[in-house]
């Protein structure tokens, strides 16, 4: 029933990291799904907390959030009528500094690349921590981001030529 002797009260994880987890999920999911995915993430984390090793709680929570987001994507792909736009695309048009075209393309990336981009640029994580959250190496995290950036650049340039 008890966790490792140094585990802080779970509430301190919610207080410190739910903003980052919410930002990540907003980059990954449609607006209507974010609140529920955030609750699901915290509930799953609470369930697993006694076995958590206590290192880097933010990356640990983001790993759980990524799995929840992927579950949600899978559920959606079986419901083709559902929108797949992340909240960033659907509700961002009135925000200052927001680039709907660019983030629309981010929303079309494969889930792992999209997650890598959101973690790297929206949460400002180092590649080591991006890797921890994605369950992959630092080098693989870097590759995912570079691959995504290359795709985004190509799409942006192709669009320019069409105009």
């Amino acid at each position: 029933m008890s966790g490792p002797p140094t585990a802080p009260p779970f509430q301190t994880l919610i207080d410190a990291h739910s903003g980052a987890v919410a930002a990540f999920l907003r980059g990954m999911l449609p607006a209507a799904d974010v609140e529920d995915a955030l609750q699901e993430t915290m509930l799953a984390a609470l369930r697993a907390y006694p076995a958590f090793d206590g290192r880097n709680p933010r990356a640990w929570l983001l790993t759980i959030a990524r799995r929840k987001a992927i579950d949600e994507h899978r559920a959606r792909s079986r419901r083709p009528e559902a929108l797949t736009e992340p909240e960033a695309v659907a509700s961002g048009s009135d925000r200052g500094g927001y680039d709907a075209e660019l983030w629309g393309r981010v929303g079309a990336l494969p889930p792992k690349q999209r997650a890598a981009v959101v973690l790297r640029f929206a949460l400002d994580l180092r590649y080591r921590e991006v890797g921890e959250a994605l369950d992959c190496s630092e080098a693989a995290a870097r590759r995912n981001v570079h691959e995504a950036v290359r795709t985004l650049r190509a799409a942006t340039e192709a669009e320019k030529e069409e105009r």
Binding site: Q11, T12, F24, L38, M42, P50, D99, L102, V117
Partner: protein, 203 residues
């Protein structure tokens, strides 16, 4: 054009939004309790003695802390002694809050709350359980409590047991005095003991 710079400069606008921490904690707490994975719920309760920290397990009230100790320290200790699966959940402490309000307003003489005794064992627990039965407005001596717990000569140990009471006020260790009528000691400070005894009309 530099895609990385564009991503950096627009990402916050794309994903930032205020998070309703209280709403999130409450919702997670509700679902966790229903799933049986919330080991401790806590709430801060305003009182004439300052803000009290009330903590409950699914079995009942397990800890009531005075404001002289930081909330974070108290919760960390409970995380280590009981479980780190702790969430703030005012709803789970509503009943305790209401009864404490009534007690301090002079409208309640007896608490009707489930208690979880797991933080006390052996002689300590035995002393505290008997202390819980001392009626409002009455007092006992340390020696009487020791005798009631089966060790008449262990009045010093009884004093230590009362000093370690994890659920003061509700388990009224303030009603135990020295045999000459002197106040003795109190975990929350003698001023608090005096205030409680005054409230109950003893002083």
């Amino acid at each position: 054009m530099n895609i990385e710079n564009d991503l950096k400069s627009t990402a916050r606008a794309a994903t930032a939004a205020p998070t309703d921490l209280e709403g999130l904690s409450a919702a997670v707490g509700r679902r966790a309790a229903a799933d049986g994975i919330l080991d401790l719920a806590y709430a801060e309760i305003d009182s004439p003695l300052g803000t009290l920290l009330a903590v409950a397990t699914p079995q009942g009230l397990v800890h009531l802390g005075y404001p002289d100790r930081p909330v974070a320290d108290q919760l960390e200790l409970l995380a280590a002694r009981i479980s780190p699966r702790i969430l703030e959940s005012a709803r789970d402490l509503d009943r305790a809050r209401r009864q404490l309000d009534e007690y301090f307003a002079g409208r309640r003489r007896r608490f009707d709350l489930d208690l979880d005794w797991q933080l006390s064992a052996g002689f300590v627990r035995s002393v505290l359980e008997r202390t819980a039965a001392i009626p409002f407005g009455e007092t006992r001596t340390y020696g009487e409590m020791a005798a009631a717990a089966g060790s008449p000569r262990a009045f010093r140990a009884a004093g230590r047991a009362l000093g370690a009471n994890p659920i003061p006020i509700v388990v009224p260790c303030h009603r135990v005095l020295r045999s000459g009528g002197a106040l003795g000691g109190y975990g929350g400070g003698l001023d608090v003991k005096r205030e409680l005894l005054t409230l109950e009309g003893v002083l």
